[in-house]
Symmetry: none
Subunit: 425 residues, 2 copies
Amino acid sequence: MAEPRKATSREVTAEIISIGDELLIGQTVNTNATWLGEQLTRVGVRPMRVHAIGDDRAEIMAALQGSRADAVLITGGLGPTKDDITKQVLCEFFGTRLVRHPDIEERIAAFFRSIGREPLEANRAQADLPEHCTVIPNARGTASGMWFERDGRIFVSMPGVPYEMRTMMEHEVLPRLVERFHPPSIIHRTILTTGLGESHLAMRIAAWEDSLAAADIRLAYLPSPGLVKLRLSTYANQDQAAAKSRVDAKAAELYQLIPDLVFGEGEERLEQVVGRLLKERGNTMSLAESCTGGYVSHLITGVPGSSAYYIGGVVSYANAVKMEELGIPSDMLELNGAVSQPVVERMALGVRQALRTDWSVALSGVAGPDGGTEEKPVGTVWIAVAGPEGVKAEKVYYPGTRDLVIKRSALAALNMLRKRLISAS
Amino acid sequence: MAEPRKATSREVTAEIISIGDELLIGQTVNTNATWLGEQLTRVGVRPMRVHAIGDDRAEIMAALQGSRADAVLITGGLGPTKDDITKQVLCEFFGTRLVRHPDIEERIAAFFRSIGREPLEANRAQADLPEHCTVIPNARGTASGMWFERDGRIFVSMPGVPYEMRTMMEHEVLPRLVERFHPPSIIHRTILTTGLGESHLAMRIAAWEDSLAAADIRLAYLPSPGLVKLRLSTYANQDQAAAKSRVDAKAAELYQLIPDLVFGEGEERLEQVVGRLLKERGNTMSLAESCTGGYVSHLITGVPGSSAYYIGGVVSYANAVKMEELGIPSDMLELNGAVSQPVVERMALGVRQALRTDWSVALSGVAGPDGGTEEKPVGTVWIAVAGPEGVKAEKVYYPGTRDLVIKRSALAALNMLRKRLISAS
């Protein structure tokens, strides 16, 4: 057995092999790999590849033979049915054979008796495990994990059932991996921006980005509709505090550079930031949505505790609702059309008054695919925010699918409210 | 160039290479691979592997060199920033070089001008494409796709942005793959159910499921929150009509078996089914949402053309809104609590009257994580549907996260409306 390595700054790599036909045919999303990637990254191990393959001997063998990472994490194919062949292929790969483990067989039998069933031979056979491996207990199921070492690399096989795998990974595998490889620890900060697309954002912060290399910091752009997350990361080999202050210094520079675009950090969502600002101020809000059809309200109410500041909203899909519930004069609608500054401002004022809130947001636009005109093409959205100091409206334009128009204008509306809340304080 | 193959029953295989650091570190779930796997399976191509790798030259090269499938589908790494290197590595692998395509550059420039921005050089550089490849147009973005052939195999590079990739796959790549390889055709029918979880559904249809093998039909359960899709499939090598009638016969049996659970087929969504039923009847609807906070409204308005039947809604998050906008007497709220049959029925009646619609749906429940009591635990939701023949309410109970409570009760509400619409006709 190889001598355990000492703490080192050498990068430790991992590779994930997810086994199961259901992953290939679109039946199951490979969330196991996503979760494993996150866990590995958190402890400073770099995931370099994910493979998803079927329950197929040749494919599993090829993936094992082609692996190069320090740690190979295998999930799936450990069930009691015929198509689960991972154990057999691992035996073949490591030149060993399955032997029955009486203690594990007894655990499996006890588990089945505890739920009032006699274990079948297929269940008992889950106690057949490779002769030369370290068996890893499964606290939540009957498929044991297996830990192999070869040439200073390790191979771990875990069940594919997410909650069994996660428990095994958290309590058994991850601590052993850290103990075995002493990965360099990593400092991360993820800064959330909205209001500028990836390439324009990149241009605006180009000089700052160029300065990161000297501080040994890596930057990743993580775009999603309406948002770009900027993730700063650096290794913290010897001096955690020094690494942290290097990242913090660069983050502070970024805040200075794009104060208008940054809205939060980490896993925070824009609607959470808005909720936090409202709560801090003891303020309430309401919504009048047309083109977004309730999506902004859905975002706001997705935050636990939002009833503390969100009073309610009106989805005014038909013009009649705009007139009756929000008090929009019919001649205003006729003169300007529903997608217009006067109407959206009146919507915001109307709902704010009706629901007696400190703030209100209104949206009216053309989500498409139909209803666009030359003057107001699909993607045109008017957004108004009304508050103690009056109402302000802005027109945005997000050409794209109906779904994207809705999502982007919703984020734009939340961001307008966020800015108003900040500048009002 | 290889001779196009003739129609054959030989299996056609595919391999998916997903490129992007965000896929490895747990930042992004690889839903592109899931969707591609489903699409390929649908047309009779067998996905044999999925790789997710970083934006790393050596890794991309290794994945290309190690590929063995007839069709290699690559997504990601085509963006305008420095870390997007897929094109360069493809050039290296195929021994070609990037050349600027003036027509595509013009398209990109026009796209940016249409949204009022000047294209940057980084944007224009997206028109730099390998000299020896077939360029595949991107109807939704600025990163073109690329189609390469080598030794009778094809390699396709597509953007990683899901809606760009999906449009390109559906309209360009998938038809070309079928044309190129003539995969054995597969007959599918996907029957959509709601109202029963996967394992209980499986128990209820067990005998029918056992009868499928004799008809050479395979069944896949495709569960998502609140729904289970049942996909029937069979190969139709020689006789398409016979295969289709085999599947149709089994589908008809299933409809007989679970008429209460089936709501549609294929890609149809429950809100589309509801919309179709409303349109057929020339009817309108409105919503009063409490715990779902606008999510039902968001689902309804996600359907293009929904303004034909959806008049609007009220999100009555605070009790004051329930009282004022929906006419709920305060003593009714005090006596029964907001999560109760009388209140939810009154909400439905109130919004139906206020917005003068044929139908209305109201929801009031405890989405959690706080607010549950012993009598009304988190996950308790009252749903009412009001229509020409009066109002009816049902209590459902979906223990789970806030997000799941919202999603499941929204589907339950749509399903209640669907049943009422059908039985009213």
